[in-house]
Amino acid sequence: MKIKFLNRGNTLIASIIGEMDHHTADYLRDKIDGEMLKSSTRNVIFDFSKVVFMDSSGIGLVIGRYKNISKLNGKTSIVKANEQIRKIFEMSGVVKLIPIYDNIDEAINSY
């Protein structure tokens, strides 16, 4: 489990690498929240291209960040989630709050 950050304008791109479950959620939460504090970021894009597994702990993590970001009028989106992870986001209604895009440019253009 690893996470990498990249800034594009006032958007933070968080690329998660590995498996997202309850075991790895605390680590990811700390890293993302820490990075949000550091930078002058408004929006966040979760890059799922290297997430090989996610269960409902991942929903909790993404929704938690979404709530914080929304309070500051920022936008949250998800890009490059695989079929299985898309299924989970759709089933849980997350997609009604957080759009899923095919790539980062699409997400940024929508802001």
Binding site: D55, S56, Q84
Partner: protein, 144 residues
């Protein structure tokens, strides 16, 4: 229905065993040659059940989780059992978005995911005694 293969596993309620339990279930079920999607569904359902035993059942105290698995001709049965605090109201617990631990950023979607990714979900729980989650899935890919 004839049981083709079977395992019984006991492990500690540590969060590092969530990934372990998923791998064990996937490795065993792969003997039936399921699709990647079926394997992914089973891994997710197992992850939900085991995570619940750790967070809700034992509330992060040390306990033992049992996972049993039976393979049939073209289907699989998986049980995840804890001897933790149990569930007071199973009907309420099954509802999408219901969670008793919103402070831990739980989404309340665990049982909903198990129900959707498997064909049958049975929850037997006794407050103070523990919870047993029984899941069943037909592998549609088999025998085609």
């Amino acid at each position: 229905m004839q049981i083709l293969n079977e395992f019984k596993l006991e492990f500690l309620s540590k969060s590092s065993n969530e990934a372990f339990a998923r791998v064990v279930a996937a490795a065993f079920v792969s003997q039936l040659d399921p699709t990647l999607e079926e394997i992914a569904d089973i891994k997710t359902a197992v992850s939900e059940a085991v995570t619940n035993a750790i967070i809700h059942g034992y509330e992060d105290n040390r306990g033992v989780i049992k996972m049993n698995c039976k393979l049939f001709d073209a289907s699989v049965e998986i049980s995840v059992i804890d001897e933790g605090r149990g569930i007071d109201d199973v009907e309420k617990a099954r509802q999408p978005m219901y969670t008793s631990k919103p402070d831990l950023e739980r989404s309340g979607m665990g049982f909903t995911i198990m129900e959707n990714f498997m064909d049958r979900l049975e929850i037997v729980s006794q407050p103070g005694k523990g919870t047993s989650v029984n899941m069943y899935k037909t592998l549609k890919s088999i025998g085609k």
